[in-house]
Symmetry: C2
Subunit: 416 residues, 2 copies
Amino acid sequence: MSDALDTTARGGTAPATAASDLAARAAQLDAADALAGLRERFTLPEGVVYLDGNSLGALPVGVADRVAEVVVHEWGTELIRSWSSGTWWTAPERIGDRIAPLVGAAPGQVVVGDSTSVNLFKALVGAARLAGHGRTELLVDASTFPTDGYIAGSAARLTGLTVVPVDPSDAAARLRERGQDTAVVLLNHVDYRGGRLHDLPGITRAAHAAGAVIVWDLCHSAGAVPVGLDEHGVDLAVGCTYKYLNGGPGSPAYLYIAERHQAAFDSPLPGWNGHAEPFAMTPDYTPAEGAVRGRVGTPDILSMLALEAALDAWDGVDVAAVRAKSLALTDFFLECVAAYVPAGKAEPVTPLPHGERGSQVSLRTENARAVMDELISRGVIGDFRAPDVLRFGFTPLYVGFADAERAARTLGRIFG
Amino acid sequence: MSDALDTTARGGTAPATAASDLAARAAQLDAADALAGLRERFTLPEGVVYLDGNSLGALPVGVADRVAEVVVHEWGTELIRSWSSGTWWTAPERIGDRIAPLVGAAPGQVVVGDSTSVNLFKALVGAARLAGHGRTELLVDASTFPTDGYIAGSAARLTGLTVVPVDPSDAAARLRERGQDTAVVLLNHVDYRGGRLHDLPGITRAAHAAGAVIVWDLCHSAGAVPVGLDEHGVDLAVGCTYKYLNGGPGSPAYLYIAERHQAAFDSPLPGWNGHAEPFAMTPDYTPAEGAVRGRVGTPDILSMLALEAALDAWDGVDVAAVRAKSLALTDFFLECVAAYVPAGKAEPVTPLPHGERGSQVSLRTENARAVMDELISRGVIGDFRAPDVLRFGFTPLYVGFADAERAARTLGRIFG
């Protein structure tokens, strides 16, 4: 990829031919893109380049109709009968099985419900109990999305562990050198701010070699990067569904419990929905078999079934193809930024090597908030992360190369 | 009320005049009912008597349109901009303030989000921390809806307390006699199965006199019975919104934190949404002021805003008037059951004294599941609770006296 970065094109004086060349290249790339047709599975506003699907995914076609059916017919007309005869009760595990192939999991290991933070709490306390006694440390990504650190602090406090912040790049080395005290490791697969992709297979191996239990947060990777939970022997994982999975604002998150851990998984939130016989209403708690024991309270049906309809956008889509397009998009965007944006005005924070890059490009710039506001007013929607980062998410199901070119060109004009 | 129960009318041979008398009485009561017009705020299927609003409330008018607007416009068109400029971010506390008057709370003490079970966990661990050291017991309603007991067990395990089951009728006496070891008390305001209303003011006083912190579960009372959280000095409370509040299947629950406890409330689920500055993304957790610190992860917007629209059904409605109608409805239903159902076939479990009755009538009968299935097939929807209970919920916003009469008459014919 880095070969493709034509650094000689840097500077605000990029000739008109360079722009038209890039626009022509974008058109060729879009024409050759086997995934280009997937955009028709989404309703996107006219005239907008949407590069914030890593924060809130676009609305898939079919969701609005499905939600209307759930509200008007299943709730309004069928009323309570929908709980006993309809699709509601089993939604958490059924939708979990729809997400499973997107994160490399066999069926029966993913359950949907609650927020990412709540699932992190289940996973971390559950992991501490799986790890057993005699180990004292909970290793946590020091650059993590904050809620992971806050929840880790609470889980550690309640289980008697000590949180040890670690740079994910140093995690494997630390586990090799001092892993004998590590009970649990919590890391993000992709860093939310800079977009760095961490070495899930290697760090998972190092955690296991040290005898620790590992929890991965997939919020910024699932649906954009192959995860391979089963293949790499991950213990537990959590993720949200409103970014690359397009489930809608605040749609329910999910919990992965590897099959080999399910019988021993001991949730700190043993709600009645995770009971082996929820309607027996017995005073003693007997956890259900399988990932279902990760359920807690009554599932949020409107949001659950909106998510289920949204996942239709993934029908027949291969995550490896999505990843290939994601890398091609971020390569091309970086190339366009180099061509259009004056040197020194917006420096990539996201790693250039493919093996270290998620599906976003973060650029560091002065006055980042004002620059992003201006971009948005010109129809290019990314987002701002304090203090100085412009974040552009590339969602291969509905973003094309012409979008990438227009975004970079618009950014260049703001600086021009 | 019990005077009105004409026990001489019992028996399967109730004369036709008794039936026509009761039908005429029902028509008179409906005509005189100042709340009768509220039924127009709901969409109910034709020909159905819906007596399961204590399990899943009916669909209020306006919800379907509001949800469609949220999906199509706020998510589909505005996309990420709805988080910064719209009504999304502040929904948990804004909707909490809509629920507050229904449970007798001043603004700023109720926050919406997560399931009841998750809120119970926050409340119980938070209560244990408020109670401080030296006390060892968590008193829990022995007849409780099971999830309360399961979650109490987990909270006790993580905070070093011991769960002590107690019959709610004995709770005040036990607190007076042996309350010095009680850290936390968890009780249901109304029992889910039999519909018994517990003495919230008296037990709260006894808990405080013993130096304990009390948590009330309002799932089966809020929206049907005056609660008076502030008036009675309750410490913490939780409740669901999909029963008498009509928020929709699995709609988010709420947490009440009395203002005097907010500064010290220490949540075991300190997600980023409960942070004083959530977008500062700082590694240290500083809880927000007020009930907002009860927030955890990203709120489930579709369900949240459906609930907000549903609460419009309460505009201008006085809970005291709702309670008066509820008691009149359950009185009249019991009278009709006595008249229509052969003696000994369906015995009330719900207490007859008004001060001990929630907004439901539970009848014990043989073959309860089959009887309820038959009732439902005849258009009278209640529910079955194992092993032998027929449960009929009376939701004064949309159930009338003719509904009560028809339900009892239909039940009588099944036995006749």
